[in-house]
């Protein structure tokens, strides 16, 4: 296995752990404060954590078929996570926008849908989360390059675009998770 793959896999696994920890903290507070919205967000973050785990599994799979299965699974889980976080967002911040997502599922490739959902989240969110989701949206569109760029005669640049998209997605998702987990843990250590 290439050292770069191992390194990326480690970053992705750290991101998975961070998302799952964030989800656990939110779920605990949600149960004490009776907040279904926070519980929904906790579920969304745990699914994003699982998406990271599937992503790592796709790097470590030696069989191309298994790697493909985990790759598609990671995008599907990311999408589900985005929808849950979007569903828990305040209506005043555009939370109701998740209602349009099923209509997008039909005609679009899975990464385009994930990219659109991440884009909507970037619109709804603020601060570092906004930047994070914006980068995630771009990364999903890069991963959809074979479909989007089919008519542009990109040739040998296509695999490179997909690779860049995957690296950007993996690193930005982990960075987002680690940033907010650090915030929560830093506060608890005070």
């Amino acid at each position: 296995m290439l050292p770069e793959t191992l390194m990326l896999g480690s970053i992705v696994l750290a991101g998975a752990a961070a998302f799952l920890l964030l989800s656990y903290r939110f779920a605990r507070i949600a149960s004490l404060a009776s907040s279904p919205r926070l519980a929904l967000a906790a579920a969304g973050f745990s699914i994003l954590g699982m998406a990271q785990l599937l992503s790592a599994a796709s790097y470590y799979s030696s069989e191309a078929r298994d790697a493909y299965m985990f790759y598609v699974g990671s995008t599907s889980f990311s999408m589900a996570g985005y929808v849950l976080i979007l569903a828990s967002a305040s209506p005043s911040r555009g939370g109701g926008l998740y209602a349009v997502s099923p209509a997008l599922l039909l005609p679009s490739a899975i990464d385009i849908t994930a990219g659109l959902l991440a884009g909507v989240l970037a619109y709804v969110a603020g601060g570092v989360a906004r930047a994070g989701f914006a980068v995630l949206a771009i990364s999903h569109f890069l991963r959809a390059a074979p479909l989007l760029g089919g008519g542009l005669h990109l040739g040998s640049a296509l695999p490179l675009l997909v690779l860049v998209g995957e690296v950007v997605r993996a690193v930005s998702a982990s960075a987002l998770a680690l940033f907010y987990t650090k915030g929560v843990l830093g506060h608890e250590a005070e």
Binding site: A33, S35, L38, I85, G183, V184
Partner: protein, 90 residues
């Protein structure tokens, strides 16, 4: 806009903390902008969860925040800022 239950819990805990950890129910009701009956029902739930205690001293009732309640208040205050980045309010 209608406040969620979690937002009301946060505001009730905030009022108690702001008043030094102890407040009488009437003042709490006024400052938390909550009808007295509704607030007393909420306080029962919060007491069951060990977040506050309602004590009677010299014929007067007092609402005291517990250590667990104070912890939840600080967690909620911090998490609110993080959630706001994701477009989520309590």
């Amino acid at each position: 806009m209608r406040r969620s239950r979690a937002a009301i819990i946060y505001e009730v805990l905030e009022v108690v903390v702001r008043n030094g950890g102890e407040v009488n129910p009437t003042q709490l009701s006024l400052e938390a902008n909550l009808a007295y009956d509704r607030m007393m029902r909420l306080l029962e739930k919060l007491e069951e969860r060990g977040l506050v205690e309602v004590v009677a001293e010299e014929g007067r009732k007092w609402v005291r925040i517990t250590r667990k309640g104070r912890e939840l208040y600080h967690h909620l205050r911090h998490v609110r800022r993080i959630l706001s980045d994701f477009g989520i309010s309590l």
